[in-house]
């Protein structure tokens, strides 16, 4: 079996890469080890509305709900509200991630990509030390797929990168260990995405409540791997729900576990092999959100690969346009947010409470760094010292 490009993984990054490569005329195959694209869902299902601007997704079937903004609760439950009109009318969607992923796969297939389910990549094919494809297992059959470009879109646990010698192993400090219930019979009439902070609530992470509809919400938790103990994420999530007056009335219709890289991005091009999405650690280290970067990065990857196929040049130099592209698009932001993550991890509950108290009445519409800093230190002058490393970054 021979293709120009083989993409391992049919998540958002894989499908988007496939689509833009196929659109340029490349012969693309996506292999997916599961039996259904997008299932099981491994996601909080929240995403920024900025994906609308990219015109990558058709229709609206993948949208479960459009929220009115976000509310952040400090450990003592001081609320900081950021509504749509404050954030430049750009808030967020809560998704049906299975439909979302299938929609992206559909647009890859529409332009000619092939998709193979229940097909697991087991190793790289090499000839004279050169990567020439992947070996796969589909039910009882094992066979070889030859390709000029290999794309690792195989998620947080990426093996493709590892096989090529890229250091993909995450330190526990760079991983959020997650669990999430979809709770039904809860009142979500507020229609805000809620975030709860606190070292007792979610050490090195947060609890989120994303309303999927009026009476249903994704309630999840992320705990930093280095602060986690066996089963901690689920235990703390259960505790949070039991102590929440509204959420404790709900019943779960779904339980998922998850793992989110909150790391610095890694090397993403090795000879004729490239990594995209979670496999490339293209995730915001503060929020743990990786959908927008997966789509943006996937598009850059697909176009770069399409161009390489056109020119029949598969050297690192040609494919490095992808790495230069994503670095320009969001590399700086990911790096900066990683530094911010490290600073935020040092904040104790008292500091988080002071922060929330200082900005709870701040008008984000008239945002400027100076006015925000003024608001912060006006009420709690001791914050200045804690925030100094952050202020330097802005």
């Amino acid at each position: 079996m021979e293709f120009d490009v083989v993409v391992v993984g049919s998540g958002p990054a894989g499908s988007t890469t496939a689509r833009f490569a196929a659109e340029t005329g490349a012969k693309v195959l996506i292999v997916e080890r599961r039996s259904e694209v997008g299932v099981p869902i491994l996601c909080g299902e929240g995403v920024s509305q900025k994906i609308d601007k990219w015109n990558i997704l058709e229709g609206k079937r993948w949208i479960a709900n459009k929220v009115d903004g976000a509310r952040i609760f400090s450990p003592d439950k001081t609320m900081v509200k950021i509504s749509a009109d404050m954030a430049g009318n750009e808030t967020g969607y809560v998704l049906y991630r299975d439909i979302f992923d299938q929609e992206l796969a559909r647009s890859a297939v529409k332009v000619g990509s092939k998709l193979m389910l229940k097909t697991e990549a087991t190793e790289l094919l090499k000839e004279n030390g050169k990567i020439v494809g992947v070996k796969v297992k589909k039910f009882d059959d094992t066979f070889e797929i030859k390709a000029d470009v290999i794309v690792g879109a195989d998620g947080v646990e990426s093996k493709v990168g590892k096989w090529a010698g890229i250091k993909t192993t995450l330190k526990p400090y760079d991983l959020e260990s997650c669990a999430q219930y979809t709770l039904t019979n809860v009142d979500c009439n507020n229609n805000y995405c809620d975030f709860y902070l606190g070292n007792k609530i979610a050490p090195g992470g947060y609890v989120w409540v994303f309303p999927k509809r009026k009476d249903e919400a994704n309630v999840g938790i992320g705990v930093l791997g280095s602060l986690s103990e066996k089963g901690m994420a689920l235990k703390l999530l259960d505790k949070f729900i039991a102590s929440h007056p509204e959420l404790k009335k709900g019943e779960p219709v779904r339980l998922i576990a998850g793992a989110t890289p909150v790391a610095e991005p890694i090397e993403t091009v090795k000879d004729n092999l490239i990594l995209v999405g979670d496999a490339a650690r293209h995730v915001d280290p503060i929020t743990g959100g990786g959908l927008t970067t997966s789509l943006e990065g996937g598009k850059i990857a697909g176009k770069t690969i399409g161009n390489a196929v056109k020119e029949q040049r598969f050297d690192k130099e040609t494919l490095s346009a992808y790495e230069a592209g994503w670095k320009k698009a969001f590399g700086k932001k990911l790096h900066r947010n990683y530094v911010v993550k490290e600073i935020l991890l040092d904040f104790d509950d008292k500091t988080l409470n002071m922060l929330a108290d200082s900005v709870k009445d701040y008008n984000f519409q008239e945002f400027s760094t100076l006015s925000l800093v003024k608001a912060l230190v006006f009420k709690h002058p001791t914050l200045l010292k804690k925030l100094a490393p952050l202020i330097k970054l802005v």
Binding site: P40, E157, K159, T169, V223, K230, A257, G258, A259
Partner: protein
Amino acid sequence: MEKPKAIVDEKKCLACGGCISVCPQDALSMCGGRAFVTTSKCISCAICIKTCPIGAIDEEVH
């Protein structure tokens, strides 16, 4: 007695892949839709046990 090695309870595992991503020895893989430990590679560091969000990994003395 040998050091205890990690073992995944396949009835509990929800296949999130977290343990695989943090294993410093590449001893974990997805196998049949569940995480699986290659015991010979495990160095008993217990990182996977601590990281598992739902407590599906234990240690076992062979």
